[in-house]
């Protein structure tokens, strides 16, 4: 019962945050509501026993990625969103498509997985086990993603560097 209560509270917070992201016109509010979503998702992970993931969710997603977003918003001084009508396709095709897809999926999920239930902390994902998996079974993907991150770092540096600055450096 307590499990369901906590789940419901944070699910509501989560969905509220997600909806708020859609409603808010200023990106910084959107970013903060996304942080709320991520924080409450971390609680859901804890409920499922994934403690390491919960911590990483907070540290990486909320503590690093979203900070990066806010940083960019601050840097570019992004203002309130403009209301332009650039795309009819997105409204006419995308929204109905999204609705149809999600309704169908929800129906299937409710219909076919309703009887199974998950206990609180059903699968304890402690750092030790996750680490073991990462460095044994998933060593290659792990290394590949590390290379990917390295490439992303270099790409970000190259993309964000001012062309003039780079040229000056080359001259000097």
């Amino acid at each position: 019962m307590i499990h369901l209560t906590i789940f419901s509270i944070f699910a509501v917070i989560c969905v509220a945050g997600a909806v708020n992201l859609l409603v808010q016109r200023h990106p910084i509010n959107g970013a903060l509501s996304l942080v709320v979503v991520m924080g409450s998702l971390a609680v859901e992970y804890l409920l499922l026993g994934a403690e390491f993931l919960a911590a990483v969710q907070v540290i990486v997603y909320a503590g690093a990625i979203m900070v990066l977003f806010i940083f960019v918003i601050m840097l570019l001084n992004a203002g309130v969103e403009e209301q332009t009508k650039g795309s009819r396709v997105a409204i006419l095709l995308g929204i109905p498509g999204m609705l149809v897809g999600s309704l169908l999926l929800s129906w299937v999920l409710l219909e076919h997985s309703g009887t199974q239930a998950v206990a609180a902390g059903a699968l304890p994902g402690s750092p030790r086990v996750i680490g073991w998996l990462l460095f044994h079974d998933f060593l290659l993907p792990f290394e590949v993603t590390s290379v990917l991150v390295l490439i992303a770092i270099m790409g970000a540096v190259v993309l964000a560097a001012r062309p003039e600055a780079a040229q000056e450096k080359r001259k000097g």
Binding site: I28, I59, G63, I70, M74
Partner: protein, 345 residues
């Protein structure tokens, strides 16, 4: 232990911890003023109470009664929320910090810690990483160029140094094999050859300790890395536009963060509460608390000492130092530690 006693004990512990922490925050401020004063050949606060000991109280009263200005054109919701966010995250990490061994009062066994969780260190890291928001939002929502620049600097600096900080901790984690702060401290009990304590700093983590020390200064925006609030360029950085209690919250958050960092350093590198135990049972029970407090005090003293001694870095120097020296050094330390542990196993 049934649920009721658990809740009761927890509430008592929370109240005690928060009171102690806030007092500590207040007196760290006093200590800083005093020590810096002496370093600069002044007296520091002397008027309020003996040795100015009541100065923090007077400051608190002053903050409460000051006019709470809200400048025009600020983005109000975040302007108000930012100091709260900062202080909340700064205080909440105390929840997982252990102060001493398990004690037993009236048949109830309880650890000297609000809650003992097996990923304590991760939780501390998560909470400190969220602390950036207070600073960044304050800077942005103030709608002032000084604040914005201060906030930008702060968030970039904190995100950058968090990496070196985290990596310096991994060496300790490898030695202890656990994320639980209590386990880490327990792994440091005992002595080498009977007299050198088995603190991590003596177990080859000395480099990691200094990386941690430097990164911690940057994380808490302290001298020599206090660029977000560099008064000569940015007036007061991200809290330029704040006054009264909101300003006090940032202030408290900063010192609370310092204390958290000092606690972590004691726990991770300096052997936590381990020390010689002697005397009657009561003393034996309280001595660990004392040893722990002593370490935290020494660490804080070094903090203040550095502030009184070192000049401020330039911003590009700060970033270059963090990314090009501290981070590679931390990685090298990690690799060496891992190798040693693997070879020893």
């Amino acid at each position: 232990m049934n649920v009721e006693t658990f809740i009761l004990v927890s509430v008592i512990k929370i109240v005690l911890a928060v009171i102690v922490l806030l007092t500590a925050v207040a007196y760290t401020v006093w200590l800083e003023r005093k020590v810096v004063g002496h370093i600069q050949n002044r007296w520091g606060p002397t008027r309020v109470g003996p040795f100015g000991l009541l100065q923090p109280l007077a400051d608190g009263v002053k903050f409460i009664f000051k006019e709470d200005l809200t400048p025009p054109h600020v983005y109000k919701p975040l302007y108000i929320a930012a100091p709260m966010i900062a202080l909340t995250f700064a205080l909440s990490s105390i929840a997982v910090i252990p102060f001493g061994n398990t004690i037993s009062i009236g048949g109830i066994q309880t650890p000297l810690q609000i809650t003992d969780i097996n990923i304590g260190l991760l939780v501390v890291l998560g909470i400190t990483s969220l602390g950036v928001y207070g600073v960044a939002l304050a800077g942005w929502s103030s709608n002032s160029k000084y604040s914005l620049l201060g906030g930008l600097r702060a968030s970039a600096q904190m995100v950058s140094y968090e990496i070196a900080l985290g990596l310096s901790l991994i060496g300790v984690l490898i030695m202890a094999g656990s994320f639980s702060l209590r386990d880490i401290v327990n792994a440091q009990s005992g002595h080498f050859w009977g007299f050198i304590p088995r603190w991590n700093i003596f177990q080859g983590q000395i480099v990691a300790f200094f990386i941690y020390l430097i990164a911690a200064y940057a994380e808490t925006n302290r001298v020599p890395f206090d660029l977000p609030e560099a008064e000569t360029e940015l007036v007061a950085g991200y809290h330029t536009e704040y006054s009264a209690m909101k300003f006090a919250m940032f202030f408290m958050a900063e010192y609370a963060n310092m204390i958290t960092v000092a606690c972590l350093a004691s726990l991770l590198f300096l052997g936590g509460w381990h020390g010689p135990l002697f005397g009657p049972p009561i003393l034996q029970a309280l001595l660990p608390l004392f040893w722990f407090g002593l370490r935290v005090f020494v660490f804080l003293f070094i903090y203040i000492w550095v502030r009184g001694t070192l000049p401020r870095f330039r911003y590009d120097q700060l970033m270059a130092f963090g990314w090009k020296f501290l981070l590679p050094l931390a990685i090298a330390n990690l690799v060496v530690t891992a190798l040693i542990v693997a070879l020893r196993a």
